[in-house]
Amino acid sequence: MRREVPLAITAIVGFALIIVYFIPHPPFNHSRDFFEDLFFIIAAFAIWLGCLNLLKVNADKVYLKKKGWTFSIVVWFGFFLMVIVGFWEGRGFMNPGTTFYYLYDKLYYPLNATMFSILAFFVASASYRAFRARNKEATILLIAALFVMLGRVPFGYYLSSWLPEGWRLGNITDWIMDFPQTAAQRAIMIGIALGIVSSSLRVLLGLERTFASGE
């Protein structure tokens, strides 16, 4: 029963949602919104599981003095600081001028931006490793990347401004992005769509049961 009930619910709800996609008549037109809301409610309750797990794992690290246990104290401190300040501020806790907003704006936001900005350096390091003429395909990739990178910057324009219209670096960049790149992306997206259909059907028919603790 432990496996059969979730699989039955998955099959019934899944096929029902497929059918209602083709039925605009009420109440079927609101079914998708209804089940989406249900999912958000369940996920909101499930966040308690996640938070308790987070606190437990870090408490164990501190208790057993595992490697990096001092960071776990920071996790506990940060978690309860935001929770207490948020409850203390009351309803408008995210309004500008509140302590919660101050902590969010001065601590969380800069940290978030820092992580995002690391991406620029990682793009450079990944490109340095990836764009090497190791074989035929890698050489084509290198040449295409060169055209696209130069075509997107003013220096590329200055390099090729003497060429006739249609043959400049910017034009070649546009051609690469509009034709071979778009064609390849669309092919991948068609494959993804078919993969999702096949995978969904396996889940609905109960052939794929691993996610519901089946084989």
């Binding site: 499930a46 992580m115 991406l119 990944a126 991948i188 078919l194 059907l201």
Partner: protein, 385 residues
């Protein structure tokens, strides 16, 4: 002189009143006002169409006598009409989205001039109603039915024992190599199931692959860790790993703390996982599921610590980053095929063959549609748009 001024003034007044009279003349009324229920909807909408006023020469022109149209509505043909809305000059359609189902409505359209207007005759009666079938989606239904039937057909073929050829996928062949490497080096395997929740098909695919990877780690007695970004994913991963270890005959090796929750926040999760990579120095990293901007940060950090990395995602924008930074990448549909490929279950392999039927259908339409467009055959090509 006085007589001349008087004649001049009189002529001026005559001229100005003539042009003034022209301005007050209403434009010709619109004709053929028709109202009907908007099709393929949940009701509450009526579509009104009309033929433009003959004086309407286009919305953007200054000399256009028609400045716009007003749509009026009444529940009786000869009753009082109220203004429903306005459109610009040149328009010939209006949607009344405030109609009640089953209530009869009549419509008139008013052509607005500079200082006056003219009204059309009332339309015939129209009632809004909800439809049971959205006919615009008939081709989607047909295609979905063909795909589903072909998948079911090949599943049955596989069940009957027929051998099906599936091409080699390098990333999946390397799973055993990755797990073996981690066992030899005595270091951990990290499995990152993406940052989306269980409502994403990519996450479900990732959790399914985790089951196969967990089976291997149980057999090899390798250490597996799964930090998650969503509570529901954490719960699902735990059940999956527990079942996999149980099926591999090593339930004793399973520990609930293998799977833990970090944070829902995108870059908070990324920072935490990067910290884990740098401190724990895993031998193998699996990045499977839905990723966004954090994909390259995770992949580059994994590369920096020297782990063998097998990535898989159906986010087209993130695939180039994984291809550049990881040792193996499952591209798009390979992510969804992975569970079937790793398990070698005939029923699951059969579904992959059924998927290929869909590819042939798309290939056919792309080739035929391209030929039609190339040779400017537009009569039938609308079928393929």
């Amino acid at each position: 002189m006085i007589r001349f001024s008087f004649i001049f003034l009189f002529t001026l007044l005559l001229f100005s009143s003539a042009t003034g009279q022209e301005a007050t003349l209403p434009p010709s009324p619109p004709t053929d006002v028709m109202a009907k229920d908007t099709p393929n909807d949940a009701g509450g909408s009526i579509t009104i169409t009309w033929k433009k006023s003959p004086d309407d020469i286009g919305a953007v022109r200054e000399e256009n006598k028609v400045k716009g149209y007003e749509i009026l509505r009444s529940t009786e043909s000869e009753g009082e009409y109220e203004v429903l809305g306005k459109t610009t000059a040149g328009a010939q359609t209006y949607f009344d989205t405030h109609a009640q189902n089953g209530v009869p409505y009549y419509y008139k359209v008013r052509a607005l001039g500079i200082q006056s207007f003219s009204e059309s005759l009332p339309s015939s009666m129209a009632k809004a109603k909800a439809q049971w079938i959205d006919w615009r989606r008939r081709y989607t239904f047909l295609l979905a039915l063909i795909l589903a039937l072909s998948i079911v057909y090949f599943i049955n073929q596989a069940k009957s024992g027929k051998q099906l050829f599936i091409r080699k996928i390098a990333g999946l062949e390397a799973v055993e190599e990755a797990v073996g490497r981690a066992t030899e080096m005595g270091r951990k395997i990290f499995y990152i199931p993406g940052i989306s929740d269980m409502d994403s098909m990519q996450t479900i695919a990732a959790v399914t692959i985790l089951g196969q990877v967990a089976k291997k780690t149980a057999e090899y007695e390798a250490k597996l860790e799964v930090p998650t970004s969503r509570s529901l994913v954490m719960v699902s991963c735990r059940e999956t790993i527990k079942e996999a270890y149980s099926n591999a005959g090593r339930p004793d090796l399973y520990n609930e703390d293998m799977v833990y929750y970090l944070t829902d926040d995108q870059f908070g999760y990324t920072a935490a996982v990067d910290g884990l990579f740098v401190r724990e120095k895993p031998a193998a990293v699996f990045l499977q599921g839905q990723f966004y901007a954090e994909s390259l940060i995770l992949a580059e950090t994994g590369n920096y610590v020297g782990a063998i990395q097998i990535a898989g995602t159906a986010q087209p924008a993130q695939l180039p980053f994984f291809v550049a930074a990881c040792d193996y990448t499952l591209i798009g549909e390979e992510l969804f095929a992975a569970s079937a490929y790793l398990s070698r279950d005939p029923k699951l392999l059969g579904s992959l063959k059924g998927q290929d039927v869909g590819k042939f259908i798309f290939l056919f339409f792309i080739i035929v549609g391209s030929l039609f467009i190339t040779f400017e055959i537009y009569d039938l090509s609308f079928l393929f748009r």
